[in-house]
Amino acid sequence: MGKTFAEKVLGKAAGGSVSAGQVVIVEPHFCMSHDNAAPIWGTFKKIGVDKVWKPDHLVFILDHAIPAPTDKHAENHMQIRAVVKEQGIRYFYDVTSKGGVCHQIMCEEGFALPGLIIVGSDSHTCTYGAFGAFSTGIGRSEMAATWATGQIWFRVPESMKITVTGKFSKGVSAKDLILKIAGDIKADGADYMSIEFHGPAIEEMSLAERMTLCNMGIEIGAKNAVCPPDQKVLDFIKPIAKTDQWEAMWADDDAVYAQELHYDLGDIEPCVAKPHTVDNYAPIGEVKGTPIHQAFLGSCTNARIEDLRLAADILKGKEVAVRTIVIPASWSVYRQALDEGLIEVFLDAGCVITNPGCGPCMGNHEGILAPGETCISTANRNFKGRMGNKESFIYLASPMTVAASALKGEISDPREVL
């Protein structure tokens, strides 16, 4: 009987053959924390250990609220800088033009590597599966304990195999596929499971598209989500890998799955997740014409150069009808967008561009909504109050749908403006 991806990676780390349902204790290759590194340090100190187990296994990336919007945030950042100094943390991305959204940096900077086990004190840590890593989000106490001991327990998850074939129609992208999957299997459809994306359409996808899919694995309850570490991944990671510990691993053909799904991209259409849940799927035709007050193109889900290109294609030479906030996922993406003339397209169209970071995604700053306002967003969550006000409304959509909607001031079908 063959093994799934999760069984193989966790088995290798645990030093033996393992199957779904078993509990293993493993040493993670990287532990990522963002602005929450400071409270985690507070918990770490309560344990009574002086030094983290391996400083080079920790990665700190400031992104949740940068530059600090309040004195409390500033103090939090200050504590992190002190910890970096005291513990000799080499991988620290401060508020500089080398930084960006933590998950983007982990992938751009060669931490997200095939076969590695990576934990992050952020639920969207599952993004790194796009590069064949086993990566998952954990809480603060658990991160503090991992810093102290270098160990974490996992129940080897059951796996869900999602096979994707066909080609996207014009105006449709990976975000539409994952929103459709969320609508079909619901917010707990893959609870506790490892999602494996298979099929020729996945191999055709860019790494950016794969990141969008894996990023939203948590929105359907998954422990992790992963794509095959194919040549596209290897070509990307080899020159930048932060360690040589990686190994391209993939499921056996005869692995056993708890559930199998199949999607043909030809059946996917532009869509949204309506307020206030990610699984509240609606095809674009059902919500077209809904007035909006703000459009947000950003977040760890959809703010890579590929996403900005798709949006800029629609906005080029036109003007937005509502305030539109563009936040590239990292400064490297920002620079590339500058080089390609995309920033100019956004500025000419009337968009506001802010520094790379999480921005308004989780209600910290740079685009909080007023009561009664509606935002269309490329981010990953539309929970009540998510963007700072519980009487506002968030629709999740692809970069193309967000750009098309920004032009009209109402939710719009990107196929009509392409």
């Binding site: 509990v23 929450n36 309040t70 004190s121 989000g137 209600g363």
Partner: protein, 163 residues
């Protein structure tokens, strides 16, 4: 161990943003203060009136969304005795065990319980006593029992390191 309390009942997929809004994640850092904001965007009546010892009852996928541990801490610091749900989102489940907040899975009990009921959770017998009957729940898996007995992950790690 037994916990008896009055029930606050909610539906499916209650997410961590409505339990502890993201805007507070870096502005409210004192554990005791977190309790004041518990469930603020879900149920203002709870935020105002919940009493120590009360019990929360939820549907499937309680605590989905963010990994923020404050979504557990705020409920614990509010004095809530336990959460009974049809199911918990994965990270929330781990965070609750790590924080030492008792959580129990029983779809049958959730269906039988109504808001305002007084229910008792008997952890030794693995059962929930409600006005509409008594329901069994699965005991914690063996590998997390030590964690719970030690009162959460941090005390458990301290003990295992001999500190």
């Amino acid at each position: 161990m037994k916990i008896t309390g009055k029930v606050w009942k909610y539906g499916d997929d209650v997410n961590t943003d409505v339990i502890f809004p993201g805007k507070y994640t870096y502005t409210v850092s004192d554990r005791n203060e977190m309790g004041k904001y518990a469930l603020e965007d879900l149920d203002p009546e709870f935020t105002k009136n919940a009493q120590p010892g009360d019990i929360i009852v939820g549907g499937k996928n309680w605590g989905c969304g963010s990994s923020r541990e404050q979504a557990v801490t705020c409920i614990k610091m509010r004095g809530i005795g336990a959460i009974i749900a049809k199911g918990f989102a994965r990270i929330y489940y781990r965070n609750a065990l790590n924080e030492g907040l008792p959580i129990v899975v029983s779809a049958e009990a959730v269906d039988a319980i109504e808001k305002g009921d007084e229910v008792t959770i008997d952890f030794d017998k693995s059962e929930i006593v409600t006005p509409k009957g008594t329901f069994k729940f699965p005991p914690y898996p063996d590998f997390v029992k030590g964690l719970i007995e030690d009162g959460g992950l941090i005390p458990h790690v301290k003990k295992s390191l001999g500190l």
